[in-house]
Amino acid sequence: MDEINDAKFLQQLQAGDQVAYKLLFNRIFPKLCAFISRFGVNDQDAEEITVDTMLKVHKAVRTFDPDGGAKLTTWIFEIAKNKVIDYKRRPAPPELRSLDSERDLKDEQALQQDDGLSPNPNILRLRRALDSLGPEDQDILRTRQVMSYEEIAEVTNASVGALRVRHNRAVNRLKKAFEEEKNG
């Protein structure tokens, strides 16, 4: 993926070079869809969210600033993540709602808590707790969200056992930081 984050490649992309677009899409489409699936999205919806994301990328890539602090690939994945969040916030179709009224009520309550106006206070506390951790702890907690221990081990050359220990320690530190946030 290094060529995707190359400055010259970005220039070609921002100049509307069709070959650059083709390369970007060929590389990103398969990975992005797999990434979106990791958020518990079914295959069909994951494909649709991937297409949504790439349409946004197609429109907005000219505005991407490489000096903004993130790589182009990270910027694209962030768009995808936000699309997943939007997708999860959508109310369920009426026919599904009527199947389980109790769950329906819970969903409504969750939506009300997470409607952007009155965010769930625990989520805000956890976000602050997460921010207070060191970068290594944050990395393992966030990477584990989208990858299995085995996959992380393959990429980092660390053993699965060592990764489990690292993750457990990060969880313990997160718990502690969260409790501190809770107790003021």
Binding site: A70, F77, L126, R142, I152, V155
Partner: protein
């Protein structure tokens, strides 16, 4: 609070609008992992992407087209959308060469299957009245192209392929604007009627109103 509780809350947080932005290291790790969607899924997504991009570009059926050949119009719109011949071909279930030949006029649309051309028309959302205009232009051009090729060779000299294509494109557009209007043959009219039927079969009624 148990580990399960905190992990569940972490998951909720990372899937909420309060989630911190992704970092390069998380994305790099994922990109390095051998996980990706299947080729069939990628092909489906690419086709859907092209479909939605062109639908966004042409929210209303295209009715006003200048005098230009059908293939050249497709080429200009494809380039405007930053798409490749392969993108269009994949979206209509054909090979890139199919699109290339159609765009350059190496193959005339009326020599192709009306059902396939209907898929292309539907993809680009061209109204049947505009299709008739573009096809008529292609037809007129086909009658004068031989003379154009002679002129092109005289001006092209040792042209590269790229320059050759540009010269050919410019000549096509020039000749399309100036070609003598000719009555379409009965065969061409019948082919267009078949395209219309295929569009109807494909549910593209908004292109036929």
């Amino acid at each position: 609070m148990s580990d399960e509780d905190i992990l569940e809350l972490l998951e909720d947080t990372l899937c909420s609008e309060n989630a911190p932005p992704l970092t390069d290291s998380v994305v790099d790790a994922f990109l390095a992992a051998p996980v990706e969607a299947s080729q069939a899924s990628v092909d489906r997504m690419r086709a859907r992407f092209v479909e939605r991009l062109l639908a966004d570009l042409h929210q209303e059926p295209v009715k006003g087209v200048e005098d230009q050949p059908f293939g050249r119009w497709i080429e200009a719109e494809r380039r405007r959308a930053l798409l490749t011949e392969g993108d269009i071909a994949n979206a209509i279930g054909k090979e890139p060469l199919y699109v290339e030949h159609l765009e350059t006029g190496a193959t005339y649309p009326w020599n192709l299957n009306p059902g396939d051309i209907a898929k292309l028309i539907r993809l680009f959302r061209i109204h049947i009245s505009a299709v008739a205009q573009l096809i008529s232009c292609s037809f007129n051009l086909s009658r004068t192209r031989l003379a154009g090729d002679v002129i092109g060779r005289a001006h092209g000299g040792h042209a590269t392929k790229e320059r050759g294509d540009s010269v050919k494109r410019a000549l096509d557009l020039y000749m399309a604007k100036n070609a003598k209007k000719q009555e379409p043959s009965g065969e061409l009219t019948a082919w267009l009627a078949e395209v219309r039927d295929r569009l109807k079969d494909q549910g593209a009624v908004d292109l036929l109103d």
